[in-house]
């Protein structure tokens, strides 16, 4: 086991500013995500929850101490490899033209995943776990509903065995049963290896209660309940 005290993913006094107006969108925050963490982030619409996830994934420009993965600062050409391990999923995920299967294959054309090969069985298994049959693989991306798009996008990253998932309302367009199935898949993924962690944004109090071991709150760009805390027992 690596040093247990070091966080898996950490943000050190990170702030996010609107690049054009210079307005501070996220007040400086620190956040330690430990191995095994299940963090749920709640807060009103427009409070900056998505910005926080985008900042953690280094999709947006951040100021301050930066982001570390397993104690190492991430910048420059480390970033693609970092994002391959720390997977950020937006609420309304993007698909490319083509079928579900061709969309699931996208990561394997990227250098960061060059050492992997698309495993169709694994993808079919993951789809089955969220209630989609094998015929779903041939469905055209443009015909997918919002909920189906969320499922495909989640499986697109899960098949890559990421170590941190940053999920922005991953079940917002899903019915109750499918939501529970997705949560089950996420729990299975978390329990499979110790060096994994989940950070999830949700508006559902019941989902927060089911999935969260640590609850964070975002309000007007201010993150509360975070800090550089000790790992949860």
């Amino acid at each position: 086991m690596p040093a247990a005290a070091a966080p898996l993913l950490a943000a050190i006094e990170v702030a996010r500013r609107d690049p054009l107006s210079g307005r501070l969108l996220l007040q400086p925050f620190s956040l330690d995500v430990f191995a095994g963490d299940r963090i749920v982030l709640t807060g009103p619409t427009g409070s900056g929850k998505s910005l926080l996830l985008r900042s953690l994934a280094l999709i947006d420009p951040v100021e301050g101490g930066g982001i570390t993965l397993q104690g190492k600062a991430v910048h420059g050409d480390d970033v693609p490899g970092f994002r391959a391990k720390v997977a950020y999923l937006r609420q309304r995920p993007a698909m490319l033209e083509g079928t579900v299967e061709s969309n699931l294959r996208i990561p394997f054309s990227i250098a960061a995943h060059a050492h992997r090969r698309f495993e169709r069985d694994k993808a079919v298994r993951l789809l089955a776990a969220v209630g989609e049959g094998p015929a779903f693989m041939a469905k055209l991306a443009r015909d997918l509903s919002g909920g189906e798009t969320q499922l495909v996008a989640l499986i697109r990253v899960l098949q890559l065995d990421p170590c941190v998932l940053l999920l922005d309302e991953p079940t917002s367009a899903l019915d109750h049963d499918t939501t529970l199935a997705v949560e089950g898949v996420l729990n299975t993924w978390l329990d499979a290896l110790p060096m994994r962690a989940l950070v999830m944004v949700t508006h559902s109090a019941t989902q927060a209660a089911r999935m969260g071991r640590r609850l964070l709150r975002m309000e007007g760009g201010v993150l509360s309940g975070a800090g550089r805390a000790a790992p949860a027992p």
């Binding site: 420009p61 050409d77 993007a94 996208i106």
Partner: protein, 268 residues
Amino acid sequence: MNTDYLHITAVDLGIAASLILVNVAISLALRLELEVRWLIAGLRTVVQLVLIGYILEWVFNLRHWTLVLFILTVMTLIAGRVSSRRSPLAYPGMAMDGLLSVWVSAWLVTAFALLVVLRVEPALDPKYAIPLMGIVLGNVLSGVALGVERVTEELQTRRDQVEMLLSLGATRWEAFRAPAQQAVHAGMIPVINSLTVVGIVNLPGVMTGQVLAGQTPEQAIRYQIVIMFLISAASGLGTMCAVLLTYRRLFSADHRFCYWRLVPRPGK
């Protein structure tokens, strides 16, 4: 060369210019309110070309390379300025990128034509350098304009896909590749089309001019063939330069897509 070449007198010019009245009449009949603009445009054509004629005659007689270089530079600056103006989306540094793309590709291709293909002595003979640069610049200009317009538009409309690829661990280049391909493709199509139909659908201006001026068609087409390939290379290079420079401005070293730099051009 000028054996059966008809001289155009001032009277002939006046008769030709009166053709503008056809357009004025159409405008009046259909109430297009374009009469004044037609007359001004016609006047500009005459004044601008007469002026250019005097300048060229002076330069051709002087034949001094510094003067030729100066004129080529002015032509390039004007083309470069126009090249990025058409795009509805702009980013900081776009005008500079447009100028650089035009400059590099037009000068490389023109230099190749003068030094390697035609082997003009001296290389900056204004009789060759200025018209060739003019033709090359015109085509580089549209290649750059198309490339910039298309790549910024692709990036804007596909921002979600670009960010999706980056989130999956794509490098900035991997995320940029599809929009770049689209843009370069779009920039090349018009040139391929013109190579395909040249001589069938239209007789290009240079060739027409040479034939009218008494050159044999056989020599005139040789010039035209050279020019067609110059145009192809120049517009291809220009489009690619423009797209690559856009990449440099809109993607950071941290493999981030700086979408906020892309803003609608005021007034478009």
